[in-house]
């Protein structure tokens, strides 16, 4: 039974300033379901992207079915090798039919007539593939956009099977599924296993791993920590392996502030008209509140609503006891509440513009008179933040030329300059090395220390929540599922809340 189908040997991959994968070796057997575990930034997705051809490895070997794969190959070629990856954001062509998606780039051709697609065969073959997945109710001729999410997942799996898939990677497939839909997906995974397909299953949810996986492989900080047979291990074993040794950026419990009685932000019965329903939450003066949860927990959505980036469907927001009707981001800043977005590249910074200009974007009034900008003042403000935040870059340099960590510092400088009392930091250290992380954590804690202020940190990294927060809440699918204070804030506790399903 233990026939090796996929082996990674000494894989190394470095991004500018970050060792994403450091000498990682692991192997997978034919027909097994293996869980790949690790916190964000552990290197799971980098490894999978190397497998899929999206990234090129710096060194090391990938052996599939006894054959070494070339150093560089395209994602299309990877599909030909028999490697398929199903990402959280499905990669289907919404406007095309189910069968066209299943056979995309591998369309059956009418042999005698050259490059003409044989739609009849395509339809029959699609039906056959779907049958294997007990999903014959899906009409191959329907457009993908008309399907529900679990059906789309089936189409993705059928697409993988259509090219004789040997290894199927699934990246958190259940985050947007209901409990029943997840159970159905597990049945399909079981069928795939019986057909001899190896499934690499990436998930943060412990209960699922114990339900469907044979083996669990744990990664941390770009290295392999170890591999366990799921049958002989407990949930605590896995959590211990994932979180590892306590990193030095851990906040000692003495430093954690006791919650003051003075609420600076009160959310009452907040609703977004979808997942978030009747959510109430208080933020107290001087504290750093960490919000944990998995992808799909709607933490970002909550933050964007409070800060006027998205529409609030219902409920009231009180800032320092006053009801605020925040219509847009300008309103929010005027009410002294700001939101540092999770994607600095997409919506956090103007990359083509200088550091100094980005720094003053939230409050141009402070640096202008009669709307004429005082460039000297801009320069001096920008330089003071560069010194304070130890940003590596000169004031007039374009942000696009900075490293991720330094870009993040510019984004933080921008919000510090905005003059807000309440700042929401969404994934403030994503993709940033450990040293810079500790600095940013200190900045956030310093910010909240000032009288009348408080901060919220949204993070998917448990050790980050432990490192910065005075109080931690955990969200799942739009609901608060747990709250931790003081001594309770340790990695294992937070992980337990995050990884067990809310309701």
């Amino acid at each position: 039974m233990s026939e090796k189908v996929l082996e990674f040997k000494n894989i190394k991959k470095e991004f500018p300033g970050v060792k994403a994968l450091d000498d990682v070796s692991m192997d997978f057997n034919k027909g097994e379901v293996a869980a790949l575990l690790g916190e964000n930034g552990a290197g799971k997705s980098t490894l999978m992207k190397i497998l899929s051809g999206a990234y090129t490895r710096d060194s090391g070997q990938v052996v599939l079915d006894g054959k070494e794969l070339p150093k560089q190959y395209s994602t299309l070629e990877a599909r030909g090798f028999g490697v398929a990856i199903i990402y959280q954001e499905l990669s289907l062509m919404e406007e095309m039919s189910v069968m066209e998606n299943v056979y995309i780039t591998h369309e059956p051709m009418k042999l005698k007539m050259g490059r003409v697609i044989d739609y009849k065969k395509m339809k029959e073959d699609t039906q056959e593939q779907l049958k294997k997945l007990n999903a014959e109710h899906i009409d191959p001729l329907r457009k993908v956009k008309e399907l529900a999410l679990p059906e789309k997942q089936m189409v993705e799996i059928a697409k993988a099977l259509a090219v004789d898939c040997k290894v199927l990677v699934m990246d958190e497939p259940t985050t947007s599924l209901t409990w029943e839909e997840s159970a159905r997906l597990f049945e399909v995974i079981h069928t795939l296993k019986e057909q001899g397909i190896t499934v690499i299953y990436i998930s943060h949810r412990m209960d699922e791993i114990f339900k469907i996986c044979d083996k669990a492989i744990v990664m941390r900080d770009g290295r392999l920590v170890g591999s366990l047979e799921v049958a002989d291990s407990s949930q605590d074993d896995l959590i211990r392996m994932m979180s590892g040794k306590v990193v030095d950026m851990e906040l000692s419990n003495k430093e954690r502030k006791k919650r003051s009685s003075n609420a600076v932000l009160e959310l009452e019965h907040i609703t977004d008209g979808g997942f978030i329903e009747d959510l109430s939450l208080n933020l107290y003066e001087g504290e750093v509140l960490g919000i944990g949860g998995l992808v799909g927990s709607k933490r970002t959505e909550l933050a964007r609503m409070i800060c006027g980036a998205d529409k609030l469907a219902g409920g009231t927001v009180k800032i320092k006891g006053k009801v605020c009707n925040i219509k847009d981001t300008r309103d929010a800043i005027n009410n002294k509440i700001g939101y540092l977005s999770e994607n600095r590249k997409e919506d956090g910074l103007s990359l083509g513009i200088s550091i100094e200009e980005n720094t003053v974007h939230c409050d141009m009034k402070a640096v202008s008179r009669y709307s004429f900008i005082d460039w000297k003042k801009v320069r001096s403000i920008s330089e003071s933040y560069i010194r304070k935040l130890k940003t590596k870059g000169t004031s007039p340099a374009k942000v696009v030329n900075l490293s991720g960590g330094n870009q993040q510092k510019v984004a933080i400088a921008k919000w510090l300059h905005a003059g807000c009392d309440i700042l929401i930091f969404d994934e403030p250290t994503r993709g940033i090395d450990v040293a810079a992380k500790a600095e940013i954590h200190q900045l956030i804690r310093d910010f909240a220390k000032v009288e009348g202020r408080a901060a919220i940190v949204i993070s998917s990294e448990v050790n980050e929540l432990v490192a910065v927060s005075d109080r931690v809440i955990v969200m799942s699918k739009g609901h608060i599922t747990g709250e931790l204070e003081g001594d309770e804030i340790v990695q294992s506790n937070v992980l337990k809340y995050v990884t067990t399903k809310g309701r």
Binding site: R330, S341, D347, I353, E357, H361, W375, K392, T394
Partner: protein, 319 residues
């Protein structure tokens, strides 16, 4: 960081319009050699006057392009606004009133574009493509397809007159460019236009009123088109509903030759656009002096814009 500095100097040499200036100088040299009539004071002043309508439209177009959009309706606004102004001038005999009416019409038409694009979220390309036909059609309907003639004599002195030996039209160009340069580079509004063009979502999250800024660029574009319409009207001493056909293309070309990026907002400069507009005028003037037929002139125009875009690519790859 040092590496960044090094490449910066090379980049600086080619950006900021210097590459375009170099092209302009080469072009002028070539024409001076080929035609003895080209490098004379009267011809050069003529070139500047000819560049006037396009230069002024290009200012608004540059703002629109920097904010990440396009305005195809500028030529039609030019026609409609100048016809409105001309009619009023003929009716009242008051030049100033007619000019003000034309400019006001330009602002209103720009506002129509701006509201549709910024507040109703229509595609800028489609909106201005539609209003290009719409405004042009209205100009024909308004005038019955006929040129509006019999304008008061005051209007021609605007085109022919000069102050301190410098033609009025050149003064208008200089004033418009100086004001718009200052606004773009020294005021919060100008910087907001750049911020919106570079990353509109980031700008929104930073509390910038993206809708208002976007609308303002279209209003400016409408105003500039109308001002250009006034110059056109003054030079031809009539209001022409047919005026300004395909001017949007010349304006886009001027901005792009001047370094504005048609695909990515946030990039572009007033100086570059001015050089671009003069470049186009020099090219047309020189080719005409050399008796090149109009078909070949169009071929040359196409090649020049391609060269300009190529230069833009090269500039980026240097980085």
């Amino acid at each position: 960081m040092e590496k960044a500095k090094k490449s910066f100097s090379v980049k600086k040499l080619l950006s900021g319009g210097f590459g375009t200036v170099l092209m302009l100088i080469i072009l002028m040299l070539v024409f001076s050699i080929l035609s003895p009539m080209f490098f004379t004071a009267s011809n050069l002043s003529n070139v500047l006057i000819q560049s006037g309508t396009n230069a002024v439209i290009s200012v608004g177009m540059t703002y629109v392009i920097i904010s990440g959009n396009t305005d195809l309706s500028v030529g039609a606004i030019l026609a409609l606004a100048s016809c409105v102004g001309a009619t009023l001038m003929v009716d009242t005999g008051n030049v100033l009133l007619g000019v003000c009416a034309a400019l006001a019409a330009g602002i209103v038409l720009g506002l129509v574009n701006g509201v549709l694009i910024a507040y109703l979220k229509f595609q800028p390309f489609i909106v201005t493509l539609s209003t290009m036909w719409l405004f042009r059609g209205l100009a024909y309907l308004y005038t019955g397809g006929q040129a509006v003639t019999g304008l008061p004599s005051g209007i021609t002195s605007l085109a022919l007159g000069s102050i301190l030996y410098i033609p009025n039209i050149v003064w208008i160009i200089v004033i418009v460019y100086v004001i718009c340069y200052v606004v773009l580079n020294k005021t919060t509004m100008g910087r907001k236009v750049c911020a919106v063009g570079d990353n509109s979502e980031s700008a929104r999250l930073s509390g910038i009123n993206v809708k208002l800024v976007t609308m303002a660029t279209f209003v400016l574009s409408g105003f500039c088109s109308a001002l250009s319409g006034v110059i056109y009207m003054a030079r031809l001493n009539s209001g022409q509903p047919i005026a300004g056909q395909s001017y949007e293309m010349y304006a886009i070309a001027a901005a792009v030759i001047g370094g504005a990026s048609f695909t990515k907002g946030g990039i572009g400069s007033m100086g570059g656009t001015l050089v671009g507009a003069i470049f186009i005028a020099v090219l047309n003037n020189g080719l005409t002096l050399l008796n090149v037929n109009t078909y070949w002139q169009q071929v040359c125009m196409g090649i020049v814009v391609l060269l300009a875009v190529g230069l833009d690519r090269f500039r980026k790859s240097v980085k």
